[in-house]
């Protein structure tokens, strides 16, 4: 990709566009590059966790720590690929896949009871007790036909989310 501080060439843009399965337009990719360079303060070619956390809106998000594991140290191509799930053109399956990857932090293709519990804990903090969290999760899993010891796969996630609407869209500002 070359030095971050240089401009993107047409080849670079097309390469990135292909990598993210055409979910972003070329203008959006240029905008994302400007943003990437803005966040990557010393032109290292990736954005460090600290630099992500310097965006207050991101740091305030309850999911930021877990999300950092997914985005820390990504180069520009992977950065765009990550964000492509939030494009208006992305399908529900692509969005569900990202959600699955978020839960499956060790990347072994299976989401355990613990994974789901951890995310619930991030989202609810100290406002629900641990016991209550486990209870709720166990009960809802049972109602959906799973047990506490089940490992959910991507297919399970697709079944759970179904084909219903998933509102997960971010607009890339284009100057």
């Amino acid at each position: 990709m070359g030095n971050s501080s240089s401009m993107l060439t047409q080849y670079d843009i097309e390469e990135v566009q292909e990598y993210c399965q055409n979910l972003f337009s070329q203008q959006e990719i240029v905008s994302l590059y400007q943003r990437f360079c803005q966040l990557d303060r010393n032109a290292k070619g990736f954005i460090s966790a600290d630099e992500f956390l310097s965006v207050p809106e991101f740091a305030m998000n309850p999911l930021s720590q877990r999300l950092l594991k997914m985005v820390d140290g990504l180069n520009f191509k992977d950065f765009v690929a990550f964000l492509s799930a939030f494009s208006a053109k992305a399908s529900v399956q692509q969005k569900v896949k990202l959600i699955f990857k978020f839960y499956d932090s060790d990347g072994n293709g299976k989401v355990s009871f613990n994974d789901m519990l951890e995310v619930l804990r991030d989202l609810s903090g100290s406002f629900i007790s641990n016991v209550q969290r486990e209870q709720v999760l166990t009960q809802l899993l049972k109602e959906a036909g799973y047990s506490k010891d089940s490992y959910l796969t991507l297919d399970d996630f697709n079944k759970i989310f179904g084909i219903s609407e998933l509102k997960m869209e971010v607009e890339v500002p284009v100057d």
Binding site: V55, P56, F58, V71, F102, G125, V170
Partner: protein, 370 residues
């Protein structure tokens, strides 16, 4: 049936954060999932609102926008204008040098010889500081339009202005010798601060020291009560912002029991981007950049003095003044504390979101049990 409101409204006693409720500003509320009817597994696993917010912040956020400097426009670089520009730079450097010579040759004798006669010395030093500031402004080919009645020297009043660069101070100082409260800088700027600016009565603070705030508040109060101190100029944003947005005002200037006179400063971006991005440039480089651009054109509005209204808290007062200044200078308001440049947000914000989510889950559960 549970009918309590999920969203948290903080009482005004939460002032230890030194800022009003961010939730009132941010367009979120999207972390709250409203389960319709029974709570299902899907509702619990659906983290798309929070994920979307995080991704939105990664793609664009209103805080980083405040500190974005504009790349210089290159409309004015061509063969015809170049020699003219070179002459301009040389001329300006000359003007500045002459200014310093005149200033130092008057200031040093006045400062030492008139040690006994304080009143006269102060008057002359004020006039001289105003003079050197005028020379500075001339060295950038500054075209400053002042609107509104000039500040008068009265006790129990402070002036507040939006902050774009340290040159704000120089531009205002050439008209009126203000006493200013500033961060102590290293290098030649620090030297200037401790010698010349002492004479107009400046107050120093150190951002990194925690206890510093109380000391500074006390000094501010003492200064504003004194009758023959120079009028106090404060930049309540606490940091330089890029003249298109305004960040939240710190309440320190608004709880001194004084009249607050707002000043709005707006730079014309066509000629130069006067924003001093202290993370990217040292002040020396910034000044050089100003001296080598065509002009610094700006408008300064002295606005109507305001007093604390009965029943108004200092934070509400600060926001009201920020409104007045932002409207006059065409700035967009953002709900961020400028010091977030140097530190992380308080965990309270995350906890509020967690509380909303927890409450909506518990509500969904209660619906189930009915």
């Amino acid at each position: 049936m549970n009918s309590s409101e999920g969203k948290l409204k903080s009482s005004s006693s939460e002032l230890d954060l030194d800022r009003p409720n961010i939730e009132d500003y941010l367009p979120s509320g999207s972390s709250i999932q409203e389960p319709h009817g029974k709570l299902r597994l899907r509702d619990l696993l659906d983290i798309s609102p929070a994920l979307t917010e995080a991704a939105g912040a990664i793609v664009d956020d209103s805080f980083t926008r405040c500190f974005k400097s504009n790349p210089p426009e290159l409309w004015n670089w061509n063969v015809y204008l170049f020699p003219l520009w070179c002459c301009g730079v040389v001329f300006r450097a000359l003007v500045l040098t002459i200014g310093w010579i005149i200033f130092l040759s008057c200031f040093i004798p006045v400062h030492f010889l008139l040690k006994g006669n304080d009143n006269l010395r102060k008057k002359m030093e004020r006039a001289l500081v105003e003079l050197i500031c005028s020379f500075f402004v001339a060295s950038w080919t500054g075209v400053v339009k002042y609107h509104g009645p000039r500040p008068s020297m009265r006790p129990k009043q402070v002036f507040v202005a939006n902050h774009t660069s340290m040159i704000d101070f120089i531009i205002l100082e050439q008209m009126t010798a203000f006493a200013v409260i500033m961060q102590k800088h290293p290098g030649w700027v620090g030297l200037l601060q401790s010698t010349i600016l002492e004479s107009v009565g400046c107050i120093w603070f150190n951002r990194s020291e925690a206890k510093d705030r109380e000391i500074v508040t006390r000094k501010l109060r003492e200064h504003s009560q004194g009758a023959d101190n120079n009028p106090l100029l404060i930049f309540p944003e606490g940091t330089c912002v890029n003249n298109q947005y305004s960040v939240m005002f710190k309440k320190g200037a608004f709880e001194l029991g004084c009249t607050v006179c707002p000043i709005a400063i707006k730079y014309n971006k066509i000629f130069v981007d006067a924003f001093w991005n202290s993370r990217k440039q040292s002040f020396t480089m910034h000044l050089l950049q100003l001296m080598t651009s065509w002009a610094v054109v700006c408008d300064v509005w002295y606005l109507e003095p305001q007093n604390l209204r009965p029943g108004e808290t200092p934070i509400e007062f600060a926001e009201r003044i920020r409104d007045i200044i932002s409207v006059r200078a065409g700035l967009k308001k953002v709900p961020w504390d400028g010091y977030l440049k140097y530190s992380r947000p308080s965990p309270k914000h995350r906890e509020r979101k967690q509380q909303s989510f927890a409450e909506s889950v518990l509500r969904g559960l209660e619906l189930e049990e009915k």
